[in-house]
Symmetry: C2
Subunit: 199 residues, 2 copies
DNA sequence: GAAAAAAATGAACGGCGTTCAATTTTTTTG
DNA sequence: CAAAAAAATTGAACGCCGTTCATTTTTTTC
């Protein structure tokens, strides 16, 4: 790798690092190009030599978050195969734990409003699809006769509803669940919903 | 009412009107103080004679949205008392219909990030609590032996999960349900969850 | 080592929410 | 009704922001 390409790659990584740190400590809304340039010791203009705009930089930080959630869910999956229903509950809990312990970082995934014309890169979409696959696997076990398309639909329903519960419970300004109640309710929701499906 | 107070009240109303219109057509993110001043024919500074800041103005527009959702849910409630379970499904559907048909307006309720120090007025919180009461009523019928605090908890769980499904399904950039599948899945979720509760 | 290409720089631009000194209008006072 | 006080209106100006670009510096090519 040429010297210039090396430096460019390092600046890219440094900027995403700095963005992650600032998002984690102060939230994505207060991310500033000038702060980032200071953090990594480059000029303001250099940021735009590496990224099209700040939105793209945020997307890279968000991709790392998606990867970390994927790891957390992989760990939580444990022995899903033995007990897929409790496995799904564990996945929901893991999602909540992540969001609860890294709220600002997690929020950046959904809070930051990208311009409507700004199309998201495919790897962000793929990162979300991979999360869904953690759900689809135990789901297919619970509903062995269900067609894959149906399993995908149910996985999205489960993810969306769990996400809603987590989101509102972590938001002080909306009528979400108190944090202490989230685990119980997540279990009731997941088990109840799938009992209703008892294919 | 004095002449001055009248004019101030009119300007207040006009500005909220203009904000609603702009939010509905272009989204809360592109709301501009200068545009609003033009819309209602006042000067830039006059806005700040009526509202502390734009956030407060948006909160008033959002409050109107909450009121409209309350109306929609009141209508949807129909004869909840006859069939509370289907009543709850109807409430979920009504919420989805509203969000689907007035997406930008509905999104402004949750999208706009108010400064963390900026405390929300109590009437916004109350507006949300009123929505919950539409859910609590049929819920108490379905679970006659449940304590009110428990019913409140379940109502929040239901609202949060329905909200999550609606939110992600209306967002092109996340892995939500396709719109066509939302109604079915909402019914399955509500019924399944409550079946799991079968007191 | 000279020419060409690439990267880095930071001042400058345009747009934003908000402020404020100056002005006009309304209300109160005598 | 006039004069004084209070309130509202105004728009230029401030400070901050993301982004651009002419210029300078560094790296690569031959």
């Amino acid at each position: 790798m040429s010297k210039a390409t090396e430096r460019k790659a390092k600046l890219h990584a440094d900027l995403v690092d700095a963005a992650e740190t600032r998002i984690a400590s102060h939230g994505v809304a207060s991310l500033r190009a000038r702060d980032l340039a200071n953090d990594v010791g480059c000029s303001l203009g250099s940021i735009y030599n590496v990224f099209d705009d700040l939105h793209t930089l945020i997307l890279h930080a968000n991709m790392r978050t998606l990867d970390r959630i994927d790891k957390v869910m992989t760990d939580a999956a444990g022995d899903v195969e033995k007990d897929p229903l409790n496995g799904l509950v564990g996945l929901a809990w893991a999602y909540f734990d992540f969001a609860d312990s890294q709220t600002r970082t997690w929020r950046a995934l959904f809070d930051h409003a990208f311009p409507e014309d700004h199309e998201l890169p495919d790897w962000i979409y793929q990162g979300q699809v991979e999360l869904l696959q953690h759900i689809e696997q135990p789901l297919q076990q619970i509903l062995p006769d269900a067609q894959p398309e149906r399993v995908q639909l149910i996985a999205r329903t489960l993810f969306s509803s769990v996400h809603g519960i987590v989101e509102l419970s972590l938001d002080d300004r909306t009528v979400g669940l108190p944090k202490e109640a989230v685990r119980d309710q997540l279990r009731l929701l997941v088990c109840g919903f799938l009992a209703g499906y008892e294919n």
